[in-house]
Symmetry: C2
Subunit: 156 residues, 2 copies
């Protein structure tokens, strides 16, 4: 917890507190290394599996009713110190909060929208995940909902 002069001690405590995360599952995919993975999982038809740890099984109750899921993963191999990067196919540098680069300041959490194909026990078969086999711990799974829709993204 670094000290900054611009905030009160209480605010500093609330907002700078570190916390510990535990994965709720892991990914099984055919991508053995980062070079094998597509730049965006959504651009690929490849099917992967999300193996939820047994103790979270109950959190999957009725998940088969969802067509699309938002998967949050910890990209534990990603660069953590870059604050700017140049997206593939572009020539202009951007701040990482304005692009979807896997390089993020601490923490590198990836957000992936996937199609849910099948649920068997604690294994979800999904399409659209670009995660490397066995590597990224899954942090959370949420259904995609209509509130996530936007009408236009022209500036992004």
């Amino acid at each position: 917890m670094q000290k900054k002069g611009t905030t009160s001690a209480e605010e500093e405590h609330v907002s700078r507190e570190e916390f510990t995360l535990r994965p709720v599952g892991r990914v099984k995919s055919s991508y053995a290394t980062p070079a094998d993975a597509p730049r965006q999982g959504r651009l690929s038809d490849q099917v992967s599996e999300i193996h939820i740890f047994p103790e979270y099984r109950d959190a999957l109750y009725t998940v088969e009713k969802c067509n699309q899921l938002v998967v949050l993963c910890w990209f534990d191999r990603a660069e953590r110190t870059l604050l700017r990067a140049t997206p593939p196919g572009q020539t202009t540098e951007r701040g990482v909060f304005s692009i979807r680069s896997p390089a993020r300041p601490n923490p590198p959490i990836a957000l992936e929208l996937v199609d849910l194909i099948q649920v068997k026990g604690t294994v979800l078969t999904v399409r659209g995940l670009d995660a490397i086999d066995n590597t990224p711990p899954v942090l959370d799974i949420k259904p995609f909902i209509d509130l996530d829709r936007v009408q236009q993204t022209k500036k992004a």
Copy 2:
């Protein structure tokens, strides 16, 4: 499905490792308590601010080009032990991975889609955030991109 025997010790180590997150900013909003906040920020026109800590300022470079941002927050007041919950207005219990309840198994990470209204220094003015004032540490900000679009969500 307690198939513990199917994973190697190494896999277990990789996927069960805990890790530490540091917030990159905090929210300033007019919601003082959870009771003040709307059930879904997207349903409200309320404007909030995201204050990014100075050391991450460079990650905001060109963020003003984005119309919508996806904000990941740590919901530090949310219930962490529930695996099932009944969504507001419904009568049927669901697993929390199939609903957008703030109660998540560890970690309770919230995903919020917001409209970006203004960027001034390290302060983003946004519409659609339902976070409580000063409480939830911001973990990451990403632009909403076309890949996040889905054609239908009928089952969800």
